[in-house]
């Protein structure tokens, strides 16, 4: 195996272990989360994003040779329509592409079925790509925009402020939940 393959496997093992311990093998975690009946999904996601945000900006600032960042292009129609389709699928499956594999690894039948559906969906997209690209992916492609560059703000301070904001939301969601449980 090549080094990048081994690194992919190691990263996946850690990511999968953490997602399973955070209970993402359960479809109900995502469904209840999206219906705002359980904030666990949001709290895990926002915590992970905040930590990653500070880490990415710190790497880019203090050790740029280790900052393998990859900002995705903002092609408005594709990102918007893809996101809208994604949300419907996530709610009815109770999984996203990553957590379906957590269900599968955790021995859940629904995880296996979601992965199989996902492979078919990916196959359909491969075939549909030549027709979709000129309509939804090529027009209105604004490029690899970031919040701080667009607003002309320094990277690390902006990341620290937004991460603190996300941390604040997590604390607030947690308080709401603790209060609701106490009643």
């Amino acid at each position: 195996m090549e080094t990048t393959q081994i690194l992919g496997l190691i990263t996946g093992l850690m990511f999968g272990f953490a997602l399973h311990r955070a209970r993402f093998s359960r479809c109900g975690l995502v469904m209840r989360g999206l219906a705002f009946r359980d904030f666990t999904m949001l709290k895990v996601m926002l915590t992970a994003i905040a930590v990653g945000m500070v880490g990415a900006a710190a790497l880019a600032t203090f050790a740029p040779e280790y900052a393998h960042l990859k900002v995705k292009s903002l092609y408005v129609w594709g990102v918007l329509v893809g996101g809208l389709i994604f949300g419907v699928g996530m709610a009815i499956a109770g999984y996203c592409p990553g957590t379906a594999l957590i269900g599968l690894g955790g021995g859940v039948r629904d995880g296996l079925l979601a992965v199989l559906g996902g492979l078919l969906g990916a196959f359909a997209f491969i075939l549909a790509f030549p027709a979709l690209e000129p309509v939804l992916m090529k027009p209105l492609d604004l490029g690899k925009l970031t919040l701080h560059e667009t607003l002309g703000l320094p990277y690390l301070p902006t990341a620290l402020v937004i991460a603190a904001l996300l941390g604040g939301i997590v604390v607030w969601l947690n308080r709401l939940e603790v209060k609701a449980r106490a009643q």
């Binding site: 092609y75 893809g82 996101g83 699928g89 996203c96 592409p97 990916a122 997209f125």
Partner: protein, 185 residues
């Protein structure tokens, strides 16, 4: 090696801290751990992203059965029908979840912990399959999923990540609320 060390350490933290009232809640421990995995991924190869691996794996498999398929498809030429970092990542994801479920502290997961929403096991299975189809089709159209656009995109302050997150949550919240209402109503 790295995996085992990290896992053992966090597990001892959780086990030794579990009985006390001031223990760190699991969502904080594991959410923070996912953030650290993200930093590891960025420092070594690239930010976390899961959904690219699906068409890569499909392309690789179909190309074995129908030689020349990968070369004939523009999308596979763009992303590569290969077993690289991305496909190894999703193999690791499933294996990591399996390890978590069999190691101490892991719990078995019910088939679906909201069975009443779909009224029958058959209906629930169909929903998982159709939902799986939609998340991959949508993610590939948008260029990323929960990990690539949200965990990684928003963490890099990418505007595409914020737009994807807003769009996915808009229809996700609407659909999930309707489904759960159907159960109680």
């Amino acid at each position: 090696m790295v995996t085992e060390r990290v896992e053992v350490r966090t597990q001892t933290v959780r086990e030794t801290a579990a009985p006390s009232r001031s223990a760190l809640p699991p969502w904080l421990i594991w959410g923070g751990m996912i953030g650290l995995v993200q930093i590891f991924a960025i420092a070594t190869v690239q930010p976390l992203g899961v959904s690219t691996a699906y068409p890569q794996l499909v392309g690789w498999l179909v190309d074995k059965i129908v030689p020349g398929f990968a070369e004939s498809q523009p999308y596979l030429q763009k992303i590569g029908a290969k077993i690289g970092w991305e496909v190894m990542l999703i193999i690791g994801l499933a294996l990591g979840a399996f390890l978590s479920s069999v190691l101490p502290g892991g719990r078995s997961t019910p088939a679906c912990d909201l069975p009443n929403v779909y009224r029958s096991a058959w209906g629930r299975g169909l929903a998982a399959f159709v939902g799986g189809f939609l998340i991959l089709f949508g993610a590939r159209l948008a260029g990323g999923c929960t990990s690539g656009h949200m965990l990684s995109g928003i963490a890099q302050l990418a505007l595409s990540g914020f737009l994807f997150g807003a769009a996915a949550f808009a229809t996700g919240v609407l659909t999930a609320s309707l489904l759960l209402k159907r159960r109680t109503g």
